[in-house]
Amino acid sequence: MVTGLGTYLTLSAVLFGIGAAGFLARRNLLLQLMSIEIMLNSVNLALVAINRAHPDSHAGQVFAFFVIAVAAAEASVGLAILISVFRLKKSVESDRADLLKG
């Protein structure tokens, strides 16, 4: 097996598909947040692999760096919302987070 850009992008697409399937299939907010992390990580892998294919600049790695920072902020705020929802509903199911429903 010869690993090239296509191999890494294929792996990235597979990981993104797993994350997307998990986000859509699970009804546990914790698991959904973890699926979002998997999807963000797969995009990071694609960015770094494409940067490796064009090694004259570091744009892809800089992008991945910023994605990591934004993902950390997203995880903290998402978990804070989860705690708040759990305090109101005593449940972490995303179906029960219907506080804005009239």
Partner: protein, 215 residues
């Protein structure tokens, strides 16, 4: 062209990453899912190493394995047994099959298309044969601390500062959202509960509510 060690690391880390991602998504217990996510993150750091992104591999380990997964575990600890799925999945078999087939089809199509791009990685720039480790400066620095920090601080200084503002806002927002009312604040809404002592026992006490003390 990657070395044999790089290809071996790619094969192992890639398989572990896929397996750990599947486990993360399918586990019933959130704590087991968090541990699987940890394995996934560590194997992705290994994949970054095969791509000469050494600094990003370290950042990945620090931020994800060190902070995000620990944050997940802390929240699971705070929530306790309520973090488990209470009711089983209520959707029908057809919906599950259709959803799974759709995701599999989209991801499979993308993977099959881009997998045909069999472009090999070019050699790293500025490095003569066999001098990648010895020469300083630009050569052999792809993905290293010098080159990547130069790219961030020179090419993307303002976005970098904006990221710090974003993280500050995220911290303040997370505290504001997750923090409930303390006991003191709950009592402060009811002025009669401010001072549990009988007022007649303290002649110097001023009555904040203006009510006459009960005899």
């Amino acid at each position: 062209m990657m070395s044999f060690g790089g290809q071996l690391l790619f094969a192992i880390a890639g398989m572990v990453a896929v397996l750990a991602a599947v486990l993360t998504v399918t586990q019933k217990s959130p704590l087991r899912a968090a541990v699987a996510l940890l394995v996934h993150v560590v194997s992705l750091a290994g994949l970054y190493l095969t791509l000469h992104a050494h600094l990003l591999a370290a950042i990945q380990l620090l931020v994800y394995a060190g902070a995000v997964v620990v944050l997940f575990v802390f929240v699971i600890m705070l929530i306790g047994p309520g973090a488990l799925d209470v009711k089983p999945d209520q959707r029908g078999l057809m919906v599950k099959l259709f959803g799974g087939a759709t995701v599999l089809m989209i991801a499979g199509t993308i993977a099959a298309q881009i997998g045909q791009a069999a472009a090999l990685f070019p050699a790293l720039p500025g490095c003569p044969e066999g001098e990648a480790m010895t020469q300083a400066g630009e050569c052999g620095q792809f993905g290293g601390v010098d080159a990547l920090s130069n790219a961030i601080y020179v090419g993307a200084a303002i976005p970098f500062e904006l990221v710090s503002v974003l993280l500050l806002v995220a911290i303040v927002g997370a505290i504001a959202v997750a923090r409930g009312h303390t006991d003191a604040e709950k009592k402060a809404k009811d002025p009669r509960e401010l001072d549990p002592r009988p007022r007649s026992a303290d002649p110097n006490a001023t009555d904040p509510s203006g009510m006459t003390p009960a005899e």
